[in-house]
Subunit: 214 residues, 2 copies
DNA sequence: ATGCTTGGATAGTCCCGCTGACCAAGGAGG
DNA sequence: CCTCCTTGGTCAGCGGGACTATCCAAGCAT
């Protein structure tokens, strides 16, 4: 199929597809002659994937390139590939102030992982972007006098762990290794907005249950 | 306290505070004379709240103004105020194509809510932004051949419902009505990044448990 | 009186995700 | 063969968002 058809079938304008090609998010098509290139189903799928990451997952274009680079790099082992891809995802900006709230949150988060018995507690603590995001979020809450106890935080963590188990169970249903890596990354990127939407719907529901529409 | 001190104690530059004042995210200080304005602890708290929404919650400035407007509007009842604030939060962009995947996802999401016995199933279905976000996410996954069954989606939904119960339980520990509304909104905005961070950490953990660092 | 600080206004900067205008190289119809 | 339309590629520009640097006049401190 040619560019125009790729555009039609994906719902993405040709100008935007050209932009993605330029940015390296899409591999160039098979060059038939100087003015014609041929694209296949694989290109279409990749394009849909890119769109989903950008529009649903709100991942910046540069990050999509990076993540896909890791996913495609079959010189690496599975865990490393997956880890590299996930670590490239956007996270909260580096905190500009290193105040006592931040340090307390750091301590609190480490304690949490330890109490949960998560193995990465020691390994990844200060390097994982996800850990840093957690610390920043907890610090922000503490600054605003959200004085919940450690037990509440742990309950949230256990819920998300169960979600992660569901994620990985689904990944294992995939046939090939390449599919599994792709599913794992996509799973993270697309499951998160889905969980967020479900969370808000659940809040609406639970709020209506408790208080009606008073 | 004057602007310079507000800046120092919050870690936000005076230029940025002036910008927030201009944008109506912060109420002007008490004007002492033509060149001096006085700010209090309430301003500081509000500023921290704004920062948390923008930096941790990634909420656009215009949306922060809107959300805070609803939170402050005590002419409304609690549920309405909260609902209005939550509905103002950013969500996925309106889908440009109305293809069969989208319609199937819409049907699937409605079925899910019905099966869960959530009351808002009929009421809010086609209007709630959260519902639309869910539909868009599910449609994107279907387009990419994520062929999971309805049971998996329901499991995720049940997990998020339990998270929502925790949220609202915490909100009820607050003393005043104003605090409760604020906590509910802030809870949604700050809990979500926290859940996301926990989700990724849990994935790292579970992945390491299953596959080590092969 | 002098010089420094303060709050307020204005215009400019940087990044990001496109998008429109243009261009040379085909291929199709006469 | 010539003309004309389409195709893929290049490049500059746009519009939105979040600041930020500069300027200014009014005060206060010495």
């Amino acid at each position: 199929m040619r560019l125009a058809e790729l555009s039609k079938r994906s719902g993405v304008s040709t100008a935007t597809i050209k932009y993605y090609l330029r940015e390296g998010l899409l591999r160039p098509g098979r060059q038939v002659n100087a003015t014609t290139a041929e694209y296949d189903e694989e290109h279409l799928r990749r394009l849909r994937l890119v769109r989903a990451m950008i529009q649903v997952g709100r991942v910046p274009v540069a990050t999509v390139r990076e993540v896909l680079g890791h996913v495609d790099d079959d010189s690496l082992g599975r865990t490393v590939r997956l880890g590299a891809a996930l670590w490239a995802l956007p996270h909260v900006p580096e905190p500009d102030t290193d105040d006592e709230h931040l340090q307390a949150a750091q301590h609190e988060a480490s304690e949490l992982l330890r109490a949960l018995g998560w193995r990465n507690a020691e390994l990844l603590t200060s390097i994982s972007p996800a850990f840093r995001s957690l610390v920043v979020a907890v610090a922000a809450m503490r600054r605003l006098d959200f004085d919940w106890d450690a037990e509440l935080l742990m309950s949230y963590a256990r819920l998300m762990h169960r979600a992660a188990v569901l994620d990985l169970d689904f990944v294992e249903t995939r046939e090939t290794e390449a599919e599994r890596v792709e599913t794992a990354v996509l799973g993270t990127i697309l499951v998160e907005p889905m969980l967020q939407a479900l969370h808000r719907l659940a809040q609406e529901e639970e709020s209506a249950r408790r208080y009606g529409f008073e």
